[in-house]
């Protein structure tokens, strides 16, 4: 029974710390690099929630029926959203702070599409792979609207 006041004290200390650090359950949303086109194939809030459903449907239609429309294709996403570095080389969309990885890091969801799928458009074969990016430490000056622009 003597330990109860101690527990009560601990509770207040923790609550105070939470208030001080501002951890009120709201984290700042990640800011994504802009795509090339004028607008996405679906509204942003729909894409944020359902992009994997679109990709799953398109995947099965492509693999089993050979339907290769670009509306919801992974290739279409990458062609629009892959960023280029200052030498014009595309950076993999699953590299840190790139389009896919930014949100997936934020949400702690593992991204394994790119173990098989190309993470850069085909047009430049001198693309930079995700595994190379850390060591090269690119200045991400080209990202309009990104949180951290300059290194």
């Amino acid at each position: 029974m003597a330990c109860l006041p101690a527990i009560g004290n601990c509770f207040f200390v923790v609550a105070g710390l939470l208030l001080l650090t501002g951890t009120s359950g709201h984290a700042e949303m990640p800011v994504l690099p802009r795509g090339k086109g004028e607008r996405c194939v679906e509204p942003t809030d729909v894409m944020r929630k359902d992009h994997m459903n679109f990709l799953y449907h398109q995947r099965d239609k492509t693999v089993y029926q050979g339907i290769r429309t670009r509306q919801h294709s992974l290739t279409g996403c990458i062609d629009c959203h892959a960023q280029a570095d200052n030498q014009g080389r595309f950076i993999a969309v699953n590299a840190p702070r790139q389009f896919c990885q930014t949100c997936h890091s934020f949400a702690s969801v593992k991204l394994d599409c790119f173990e098989c799928h190309a993470a850069t458009p085909d047009e430049h074969r001198t693309a930079v792979n995700a595994f190379e990016v850390d060591s090269l430490n690119f200045p991400l000056w080209h990202m309009t609207g990104a949180n951290e622009q300059h290194e």
């Binding site: 693999v63 029926q65 339907i67 429309t69 098989c116």
Partner: protein, 274 residues
Amino acid sequence: MNSMNKSHQHDRRDKGGPHCQSLPAHGARRRRLVAGAASAAGLYAAAKGFSLVELAMAKSADQAASSLTRWGLLIDAAKCASGCDACVSGCNSEHNLEKFDRPESDPQWIRKLDLVDRQTGHASSLPMLCQHCENPPCVDVCPTGASFKRADGIVLVDKHTCIGCRYCVIACPYKARSFVHETLHNQKSYSPRGKGTVESCTFCVHRIDQDPPAGQTGRLPACVEACHADGNGAMVFGDLNDQNSAIAVRLKTRPSRQVRADLGLNTGVRYQHV
């Protein structure tokens, strides 16, 4: 048996709720729909004045592969030169099949074979690849359903479902399948490949499925294109079901053979002058 089934259905209907009672109505509606679709297709064919088989040409990107088409490849071994590997390098660069200096296990979708008749000494050379069987043993043995045959006869691996067990590699009589042992980095957007999955010739579906270029009826697989550009023009690709296609005409007018025809697999790849 029929009467037993009927009474069983009747029992289910009696015991079930409103959902079960609506089953027969669904069945009748489906039958009407099927009949309607069939007659519509017939009317369309009659109105256009050609048979349904001729509808099956190269499809556009938004159309589903159809069983009216069966893609096939004819290889003339008399034209295929020993030492020429235009088709192999064409395939390797199209799909970016990286080599790791381990020929026993490096992925290979098409390989050249040099054959010698031991009795007569007659030598011939031919490419060996997935034969796109009508009754593919790789599909039979696949435990997950990842190996499958498309409606137009192309045998593929759904790598999302493949667990890399390699039963299909063993079942294939043509040694046409490879397993990816290494982590890959430079895949092409149209040819996803990854460690831990099985792969083989796809007849370049990514080309066949696309809208044909202006003035052409369709696109060719990379090996066929390379064989015509850099090799000896020993390959003919086309629709086996289209009686007027170059491949069907050649098969009709000249003798050809399937490799291991005794297995009854009805291969989509045929050889001449072997």
